[in-house]
């Protein structure tokens, strides 16, 4: 990425990741939380830039819902499972030092949704268990930082 002091004469390709840091910050200010998290998955360079910038998400309430959509799973971090990717997003969100939450909700309603066909239900139940295991592990670590 080009730094704040770097001049336009730098032979960078004109694309988002080669923009001056001021411009990337401006773009991030105009994006909602979901878009920022999708942008993180585009490639490593952009992800590292966003990690460095730590954009202000201005959230006071977070609800984690276990929805299995193509958008949420598509990523440059392909070897990771759905649960791992979700957990990475959750960790990155919760680790943001600018984030001050009034409420944190983990929505598990779909677990008792009997409208889903049995085969799909079994598959999603397995994924959910995996997610919960990682989430529990993460919350546990947050409570006991000295044990990390």
């Amino acid at each position: 990425m080009c730094t704040e002091n770097e001049e336009i004469s730098d032979p960078c390709q004109p694309n988002l990741q080669n923009m001056p840091i001021v411009a990337i910050k401006e773009v991030l200010k105009n994006l909602d939380c979901r878009s920022i998290f999708r942008l993180r998955k585009v490639n490593r360079v952009l992800r590292y830039s966003i990690v460095d910038i730590r954009p202000d998400l201005h959230l006071n309430s977070v609800r984690f819902q276990l929805l299995f959509t193509k958008i949420s799973t598509e990523s440059c971090i392909e070897p990771l499972s759905y649960a791992q990717i979700s957990m990475e997003d959750a960790k990155n969100l919760l680790k943001n030092p600018k984030l001050i939450l009034n409420t944190l909700i983990l929505d598990l309603r779909f677990l008792v949704d009997i409208s889903i066909e049995k085969k799909r239900h079994r598959k999603e139940k397995r994924r959910t268990r995996e997610f919960l295991r990682v989430f529990e592990d993460f919350i546990g670590k947050q409570r006991k930082p000295s044990e990390n």
Binding site: E7, I8, S9, Q13, P14, N15, L16, Q17, N18, M19, P20, V22, A23, E26, V27, L28, K29, N30, L31, D32, S35, R38, L39, K41, V42, N43, R44, V45, L46, P55, D56, L57, H58, K70, I71, E74, S75, C76
Partner: protein, 201 residues
């Protein structure tokens, strides 16, 4: 390039006022010349400081060479000065820190930025370099709007970004161009790994 032969681009002929006002001459890195009003220049903190420091008179503007802007091409600079002329006299906005940032894109700006994405990113570069706050605001807003509802793969296409694989391939190619032996070493290393050797050296 002499002043007579320069391809002068009049940014906004109709806006030339009856009373005598100063018009500065600027030259892009591909030798395109632009005449820009003093008031329009005030939108750019960088150019405004530059012309103030130069202290040109009306005669100086005509007789001295155009002020060179080495880092920006004519196509981009034309858009920049069109924007400055249209918004001349307007107050420079101050960032109030609101997130998501509230930025309205006026119709004129939307039409001006109806360009390919590569040129749009060059415009952002130029707005940042010349410190034109509101142009940076609206162009970044446009870029942000392009992200709405897109998947990472779609974002990669919209923002002209390489995937990690493409990025690594480009880095390898650049490295090889600098050191042709690097590829041979890498292939030798891979071959030894395939043969089960633990140590390369």
């Amino acid at each position: 390039m002499s002043v007579e032969n320069a391809p002068v681009v009049d940014v906004d002929e109709a806006a030339i006022p009856v009373e005598k006002k100063m018009y500065y001459r600027f030259e892009s890195n591909d030798k395109k010349e632009f005449r820009v009003s003093e008031l329009a220049i005030q939108q750019s903190e960088t150019l405004n400081r530059l012309v103030e420091a130069m202290g040109y008179t009306s005669e100086d503007v005509e007789n001295k060479p155009a002020i060179a802007i080495e880092n920006i091409d004519g196509k981009t600079l034309k858009l920049v000065f069109q924007w400055c002329e249209h918004h001349k006299g307007e107050a420079i906005p101050v960032d109030d820190g609101s997130v998501p940032k509230i930025v309205e894109i006026p119709e004129f700006d939307a039409k001006l930025m109806d360009i390919d994405n590569g040129l749009l990113f060059k415009l952002i570069w130029a707005a940042d370099y010349l410190n034109i706050v509101q142009l940076l605001n609206v162009s970044c807003k446009k870029v942000a709007n392009m992200a709405q509802g897109k998947t990472p793969a779609q974002l990669r296409r919209v923002y002209l970004l390489p995937s990690d694989e493409e990025d690594e391939a480009a880095k390898r190619a650049a490295q090889e161009a600098q050191d042709p032996r690097a590829r041979e070493v890498e292939e030798e290393f891979e071959e030894r790994k395939r043969q089960g050797g633990n140590s390369f050296f």
